[in-house]
Amino acid sequence: MTATDERTDGPAIGRPMRRKEDARLLTGRTNWTDNIQLPGTLWMATVRSPVAHARITAIDTSAALAAEGVVHVYTGADFPDLAGSTCVWPVTDDIQTAVMPAICKDVVKFAGDVVAIVLATEKYLAADAASMVDVDYDPLPAVVDMELALAEGSTIVHPEFGTNRTYTAKMPCGDYEAVRAKADRVVKRRFINQRLIPNTMEPRAVVAAPAVGMSDEITIWTSSQIPHVLRVLLALVTGIPENNLRVVAPDVGGGFGAKLQINREEVLAVVLAQKTGRPIKWVEARSEHFVSTHHGRDQIQDIELAVTNDGTILGMKVELLADMGAYLQIITPGTPLLGMFMYSGIYKMEALDFTCTGVYTNKTPTDAYRGAGRPEATYAIERIVDEAAAELGIEPLELRKKNWIKHEEFPYTQIAGLTYDTGNYEAATARALELFGYDELRAEQKARRDAGDTVQLGIGISTFTEMCGLAPSRTLGALNYVAGGWEHCTIRALPTGKIELITGTSPHGQGHETAWSQIASDIIGVPVEDIEVVHSDTGRAPYGMDTYGSRSLAVGGQAIKVAGERLVEKARLIAAHQLEVSPDDIEFSQGTFAVKGDAEKSLTLQALAFEAFRAHNLPDGLEPTLAGESTVDPIDFSYPHGTHLAAMEVDTETGQVTLRKYVAVDDCGVQINPMIVDGQVHGGLAQGIAQALYEGALYDSEGQLLTGSMGDYLLPSAADLPSFITDQTVTPSTTHPLGTKGIGEAGAIASTPAIINGVVDAIRHLGVNDVFMPASPQNVWRAIQNAKGGQA
C-alpha cells in the first residue's frame, strides 16, 4: 500500500494525499438518497413479475388500494406509452430495438419486470400493499439460453422482430482467412464469460420532488453515475422540458456501471411527482436489486488464434454471442462492442476478424459493468495466448514477449486501428517478475508436480492493455453512439479568494474532490484545502458527461488543466494592469503574480479575485469576475497497461482454489494521487478475481434467477483475498496534457484471466485446458474428472 504524504509544500500532483472525502464518509456524515426526507413524501413500491415470460391476464388492485396508507396503485394501463429506459447506442442500422416499458401492460419479459406500482404514505405500508396486488399470469416458454434462442423454432422474446437476434456487428481487420491459411496451427477455444450481477454497497434509490412556487423545476435526487446524461434522457423519455428538470446525484455508494443507466423507477418517480404533486421516494431492497438492476458480461466467445510453430501470432478470429437480456437499456448493445478493438490486446498481428451477435433472452437486461466489453476481450486474448503457448510448448511469457509491441515501436497503430500512444510492456513485466519471484515459483511448481502433491501450484499471467477515457466525440459518432465524449470544468475564484472547481464528472467513490483539487492547486497556485469541488448537480454544475469508462481524469482532467490556465491568464491581465507593466512582464508562480525582476511588486491570486469582483480598476474592456472554463474533447482514448501475476494453489482432491500471491504492476502514466491509484487497483482486483472465482448469475430453464441473494451469489470479503502486491511503472501519455491514463477499470480487466490462467496452469498436466468461471470447487473438480475420463 502507498503511504500517505500530508506535506503542504511542493507540487500537489503526485502526492499520496489522504482523501478529503474520507472523514465525512467514514463518520457517517453522508447524504445518501435514502437520507433525503421531504414532507409529504409518497413511498413507491414495485410489484414485480415472479415469472420470466408470461401474458398478464388480469390485475386486481382493489385490496392494495383499500390498504392502510395507500394513495395510488398504477398498472401498465395507466401509462401505456411511457418508456422505462432508452437505448442511446443503436450499434447497427438494422438493430432490433426493444424498449423497456415503464410498467408492463400485456406481457412480462423477465422475472423482475414491473407490473404495478404502489404509492403509500409509509415505506412499510407501501411494501404491504404491493404484496396485495393480485396478478394472473398465463405462462409463456422462457428463452434462457442464447444458442437455443437463435435456433429454429425458439420462442421469440419480442414477436414483432420475428427473431431473437438483436444485431450482428462485424469488424474485419486484415485478411484473416489468408493468415489462417498460412498458419502452422489454429488454436481454438470456447470461453464463457459468465453473467455477473453488479453489487454496489448502496443500492439504487431515487427521490423526485415536484415543482414548487415560482419554479417549474422538478428535482430528482438519484444514486446515479450520470446526473447530466440522465437529465437529457429523462426529458426525452417523459416529455418534461429539460430546463424543468434538475438532477442531483448526492453521495453515491458505488456504481461500477450499474448506475450508468436510466431506470424505469427514475422515470416513474419523475412522472408521478408531477402527476401527484408530492415527493416520490423509492429505495431498492437488495433482493430487488439482484433481479432488476442491470447485469454485466454474459458472452459466449468462440476464439481462434492463428500461429506459427515458432510462436508468431498471425491473426485472431472472434465470434461472440452477447446476451442482451429482455430489453435494450442505455448502452446494452454497445457494451460488448466496447471490447471490439481490444481483442488483439498488446500483440501485433496481421488480421483480426470480429463478429458479435446480440441475443434477446427472458432475463434481466445487461449493460455496462466495470470494464464493459474490455474485460471480456482481455479475458479472451490472455486466455488464448496461454492456450497457444501450451499447444506450441513455448513458455507463456516468452510467447507474449515475442509478439507484444516493443516499447520503441510506440506510437503503434494496432490491427483494429487504434493508435497506442505510449507503453512499456517490458518494464512493467520485468518489475512484476521481480516482485513475484517467478523463477522460484516455477521451481516449486515443478517440485509439486514431480511429487504428485494433492495441492498443485499454477502461475497465471496477464499482460494487458485497455482503451478507456471515453471518448473522442467523432469516434463515438462513427460508432453510432448518439452523444459525445467531451468533459467540462469551470474554475471560479470567489471574492474571498476561495476556489470553486465545477466539474462535469460525477464521483461515486473515486476521490475526485481530492484529486481534482490537487490538479487545480498546482495550476492556479491555491492550497488544496481552499478548493471546493462542485459536482453531480445539474443546477450547480450544468455541463458534464459524467463518470464511467475510466474517463474522469483521462478526459475531465484535461478540462481542469485548461480551465485553470485560462483563469490564470485572466488574472495575469488584471495583475499587469494594476502593477502597471505589460502582461508579458508578469511571472506567475505558486499563486503569486510578480513583475519580472522586481518580486516586491506582486499580487496574489486571492487579491486579484477580489479586484475582479469589485471591478474598480480593471483593464479597459476586461469583464469583471475571475473564472476560467473549458470543455475538452479528447483527441484519443487512453491506453493504460500492466502485468499481473497470480500464484494459484489448487487442491486436486476437492477442487478448492486458493489465491496465494498476486502481483499487479500497472502503468497509468503520471499519477495525480498514488494512494487513490492504489485504491482503484485494489478494488478492481477484488472484482476481477471475484468473476474468476466466486461470482456468477445462474438461471434455471424457466428463467428463474437461482442466485438472487448474497447466500447464493458469492462476493469475496477481505478474508478471502491476500494482501495484493501493487507497484507502478510510469510511461506518460502523449495525448493527455498531464500525461495521465485511466486507472478505474484496469484491475478488474487484468485480473480475471490472470486467475484462470493460474488455475489452468496448476492442473494442465492432468489434462485440463479450461475451467468454467467462476472456478468454484465443483467446476474445478469436474474439469479434473472430465480430463481423467478423456472428455476435456
Binding site: 412499510y124 476437492t654 441473494s709 447464493d712 458469492l714 470479503s717 478474508a719 465443483q778 473438480w781
Partner: protein, 285 residues
C-alpha cells in the same frame, strides 16, 4: 429491511417466554440473536404474529461445568462458545467449530441455541452437537424435558422443539482423556455456509482407534452420523490407509441436496474427502 408488522414481547424468564408463546399462538416465534430469523423476516418469508425475545433471560446465558458435561445456555453466543474457558476445556471441538461460523459480527450476535433450533442442515454447530451426543433441555407448558441429539434434529429446519416450547440449554458430554478431534468446513468464501462439513472425534490407544465418531454437515436433512465409517474405524489401526479406506463409506446413507454451489454427487465426494482429513487430524496423523 421491510418485514410485515409484528408484536414484540421481551421475556424476563423461561416461564415468561413459554407463557408469551402460548398467548401468541402458532405464529409466535422465539427471537434470540436474530441471525437466522431476521433475514427470513426481511425477505417476508415468514410473518410471525409476535416475537418473543429471549435474549435477556439470565438462565439462557449461563455456562455450567457439571463435571461430566458442560451445560451451555441456549442464548450463549457463538463468540462465547469459541472463547469460554469451560467450553474450551470441556468441549474443545465445539469451540473449534464455533470459530468457523460465519463472521465475527454474526458470531457476536448469533447463539448456540439459535443455531440448533434453526436446524439448517448447513449449520456447523448442530453437526458438532450430533457428533458429541449432546442433550437438549426444552421447556414448555408441561414443564421441562430432555431430548438427545439423534432425536432433536428431525428434518430440514425442524427440531423436536414444539411451537409452544423454548430451548433452554444444551448439555455437551465431555470426551475425556485420549481423544483427538477436528472439524473440516468446506466453503467458498470465509463468510459462507458449509457446502459440506465433517466433525470427527477419535480415541487412539496404542496405535489403534478405540472409539470414533463422525458427523457430517449438509449431506442430509439434518446432521448425519457416518456410522459405517465409525464402524470401519473402530478397532482398526490409526494409519492413513486405514482411515482413507474407512472414509470411503462416509457418504453411505446420505441424501444431499443440489444447489448453486454443489450438486449431490460432489457433496458426497466431499463428504469422503473431508471425513478422511478430519479423522486423520483427529488421530494426530
Amino acid at each position: 429491511m421491510i418485514p410485515v408488522a409484528f408484536d414484540y414481547v421481551k421475556a424476563g424468564s423461561v416461564d415468561e417466554a413459554v407463557a408469551a408463546l402460548a398467548a401468541g399462538g402458532e405464529d409466535a416465534k422465539v427471537l434470540g440473536g436474530g441471525q437466522s430469523l431476521m433475514p427470513v423476516l426481511r425477505l417476508r418469508m415468514n410473518a410471525p404474529s409476535v416475537l418473543v425475545d429471549v435474549s435477556r433471560i439470565d438462565e439462557l446465558r449461563a455456562v455450567t461445568d457439571e463435571g461430566g458435561s458442560i451445560l451451555i445456555g441456549a442464548g450463549v453466543t457463538t463468540y462465547e462458545v469459541m472463547h469460554h474457558e469451560a467450553i474450551k476445556a470441556g468441549a474443545p471441538l465445539l469451540s473449534r467449530a464455533a470459530g468457523e461460523v460465519a463472521d465475527p459480527a454474526i458470531r457476536h450476535r448469533g447463539t448456540f441455541g439459535g443455531s440448533c433450533t434453526h436446524a439448517d442442515p448447513a449449520g456447523d454447530l448442530p453437526t458438532v452437537a450430533r457428533c458429541l451426543d449432546a442433550e437438549f433441555v426444552i421447556a414448555g407448558p408441561g414443564g421441562r424435558r430432555t431430548v438427545g441429539a439423534a432425536d432433536f434434529f428431525v428434518d430440514y429446519f425442524t427440531t423436536a422443539v414444539g411451537v409452544d416450547e423454548v430451548l433452554v440449554a444444551v448439555r455437551v458430554p465431555k470426551l475425556g482423556d485420549g481423544w483427538g478431534f477436528d472439524y473440516q468446513k468446506f466453503h467458498r468464501t470465509a463468510q459462507s455456509w458449509a457446502i459440506v462439513g465433517a466433525a470427527a472425534a477419535v480415541k487412539v490407544e496404542g496405535g489403534t482407534i478405540a472409539e470414533a465418531r463422525v458427523a457430517l454437515t449438509n449431506v442430509a436433512s439434518s446432521p448425519h452420523r457416518a456410522t459405517a465409517t465409525e464402524t470401519a474405524l473402530t478397532g482398526g489401526p490409526a494409519t492413513a490407509d486405514a482411515i482413507a479406506a474407512a472414509a470411503e463409506s462416509a457418504a453411505d446413507g446420505t441424501n444431499p441436496t443440489s444447489d448453486t454451489h454443489a450438486d449431490a454427487e460432489f457433496r458426497q465426494h466431499l463428504a469422503r474427502v473431508l471425513t478422511k482429513r478430519a479423522v486423520s487430524n483427529a488421530a494426530g496423523l
